[in-house]
Symmetry: C2
Subunit: 228 residues, 2 copies
């Protein structure tokens, strides 16, 4: 029985992969839990074939680990893994910012300035509550990545790594972060890009992500996630 709004896709396995991915990121399927093929197949109302295909895809996304003849388990977030992930983000999004500085069209630069103004207004109106921009078109980082013009980079960051990144973002919810500080950093990065200063844009992006990583680490150390 399908308990989610099913976004009709071309193939069942794509649907299932999408829904499973969301369920894991949202924590509906708890970390470290076992993925039972018969159980999930019944739950989603499909046979084990497409379900297995979906699980293989999730393994590629790093959301589950599979061992032969045993099955799949949802990954377990931990500080070391988070630091590793964010080091990669730092390298990749730093490169994205560098590339964006030379390839972002002026129209997109202006659209992004408008977007940051919108974020600013949101913070003013909502007592600094963090702007929820997960995955949407309002996500500053995603816009930079796309502006890099590097198709491989886009795919890697927005399709393969993004699920895990979203998972970390969500499960710590940026409680300790200072949205106004983040916004200032975003503006500085965009300034560098607008001025075609690739080196600076990369440096600022790396510093920005490194700082976010540091805050997330502190948050995890003071939460249940620190138990592993």
């Amino acid at each position: 029985m399908n308990n989610l709004v099913s976004i009709k896709s071309a193939t069942l396995s794509e649907d299932i992969a999408q829904q499973l991915s969301n369920a894991i990121v949202q924590g509906e399927i708890p970390q470290g839990s076992k993925i039972s093929e018969p159980e999930l197949a019944k739950q989603y109302g499909v046979s084990r074939g497409p379900l297995r295909e979906a699980i293989v895809k999730l393994e590629g996304l790093g959301l589950v680990t599979r061992t032969a003849n045993v099955g799949a388990r949802v990954i377990q977030l931990n500080i070391q893994d988070m630091l590793d992930t964010f080091s990669m983000r730092e390298a990749l999004e730093g490169m994205a910012a560098r590339l964006a500085a030379t390839s972002m069209p002026l129209t997109e630069v202006n659209r992004l300035y408008t977007l940051l103004d919108k974020h600013q207004a949101y913070l003013d109106d909502n007592q600094d509550e963090h702007y929820v921009q997960q995955g949407g078109n309002d996500d500053f980082h995603l816009r930079i990545i796309h502006a890099s013009g590097n198709a491989k980079l886009v795919r890697l960051l927005t399709e393969e790594l993004y699920a895990v990144i979203r998972m970390y973002r969500r499960h710590t919810a940026d409680q300790r972060s200072d949205p106004r500080q983040a916004l200032r950093e975003h503006r500085a990065i965009l300034d560098a890009i607008a001025n075609h200063e690739g080196d600076l844009a990369e440096l600022l992006m790396r510093r920005h992500i490194s700082r976010a990583s540091h805050l997330l680490k502190q948050a995890m150390e003071h939460s249940a996630l620190a138990s592993q």
Copy 2:
């Protein structure tokens, strides 16, 4: 009928994925060609089930592209894609070198110096013929990546991206590269790592990969690959 030495693995789909991956990288299955499930299933002597799983994995590796109800095609190498891939390599392996500069144990540093001496001796004995180090334990880049101590980075570079990188390496065969120059650059990178100079190690690694990318571009522009 299995026409390759089958390295027995825990599961058929793993075997097939491995063999297919090699066949594509080696060019036995030509670029852009269609992957026929019935045909390959017969060829490898398995049913379509495990074969499909293998294809899904290859899609995750970026070796094939799949479209629903149509099938899978082997990717087609081209200059833009190569440049994109090497930009990512530059960012990621640069980070790996930076991390290795602080985490590589002295024993491994010494082993790598020995390895470079071995490469040097090989060049002396074989009139500068390029040392074949594809994927093996003698691959300098792989050793640096592993020394980064970042498990995510290792997995991404050595499992997910490496197949495509090997494909580019192979199909251009580094004809134009100067092995002695590359060796000098390797030595400079290792020096920086040995001195715990992360900034410098990253800079040198990025320059090294950027240079390789430039050479590969020239090689591709003067070969049949430029036709796309």
